[in-house]
Point group: C2
Chain length 255, copies 2
Amino acid sequence: MRYLIVFAHPEPRSLNGHLLRRGVAALKAAGHEVVVSDLYAMGFKAVADGRDFPERDIGARLVYHAESGAAYAGGSQAPEVAAEQAKLLAADAVVLHFPLWWFGMPAILKGWVDRVFATGFAIGVPKPGTRQWLRYGEGNLAGRRAMIACTTGGRAPQYGARGVHGPIRDILFPINHGMLFYTGMTVIEPFIGYRVVRASTTEADALADAYAARLLGMFDAPPIAYRSENGGAYDEEQRLAPEYGEGEGFSLHEG
Amino acid sequence: MRYLIVFAHPEPRSLNGHLLRRGVAALKAAGHEVVVSDLYAMGFKAVADGRDFPERDIGARLVYHAESGAAYAGGSQAPEVAAEQAKLLAADAVVLHFPLWWFGMPAILKGWVDRVFATGFAIGVPKPGTRQWLRYGEGNLAGRRAMIACTTGGRAPQYGARGVHGPIRDILFPINHGMLFYTGMTVIEPFIGYRVVRASTTEADALADAYAARLLGMFDAPPIAYRSENGGAYDEEQRLAPEYGEGEGFSLHEG
């Protein structure tokens, strides 16, 4: 299989760098192809702005999502944006690998999403013959498996059901559901390394083994059972119909 | 009062730019001082990396949070980071104003948090005489009011209790609770403009009036009643004790 790992850590000699190298080695040893987008090493431009559209009229008012759609349709995107899209299309499995900073992605990875998930590619894709969008379970990245791999400074109980930071599942929902499933990918449970700032060498190696196993098992792991937007569970205002679960919140959107 | 508005939109002629100008004008007309950190106009460096620490040994392994703490303590931070911290300390009210992109902040604003919320300033602040941290209701930014002002492309029902994107309150929890309340600030309900891509001039002006009113009312608005970490509700593993609400999830952390 072909794996794309999008990696966002500033220090190759970090624990995350160790995990990456060990994960890539394990995948290659098993005969898989691996492409790594090492965003820091690439100097990936994080900020979505008018310079993303080399052919635009720089005097015109910038409407980013519209300009993104025009550039995608017209083949005039920034080269590094088109290159990342091609990597996504070529992949069978997509991994976002990052340290959790302030309960989200490092800015360089958020910027990768802001720029690469272009209008017409990842959002704003009409479903032919309908008034619906291809999103949340359908879209150009359907058929691919996706997984978050992240590390935290805090301990696991702080990210548990009653932990002060909130449940890790909810913290990652905007990525798992709002980015990965949104574009059609099949999302599996995240790989999480807690409290890594205190990891010993032995612990780091155990974590690397666990990460390698999760990468190798991506196609066998049960998906998070998010509900397809166009599968009948949502009404015309994209609200979950009453018969599909009670209450409110992120967890409603899992079947 | 002194307001700091951190603004993250690439186009001044956008609806968000209109809201910003009208909000600032209303605050000034009422006699308040206003400082705007217009991150795009400033060309704010979004990516947290080793260049944030001009005095570090560039051959050494970068541990960002540790280097951040050393630079903060030693007065050797990047000048624009120290300047933003000074603006925060000088403010009575802090507003994060941005378009919601992929269910989070634009990368330039996430990078502002990643870099400006330094170790020793916003995180890793010990509570003297205890083994606790000053965070979640305590910290260097205590005494300040904070509010998110954001706009969405999607319609309000999609962000409601059963909407497909998830409740906006939960989407914003990592910012409201995990960044603003974490550093000690008193957080009030966000100002949200839904479906702004379709706004007419009349609608844009009505939204600007509403925004101005919310800015002017920041000190009278009831806070979101997040629970203080060191206030007795959390156990030694920072889990909410059983007598404080049932179940799990972000909403537990409101009293």
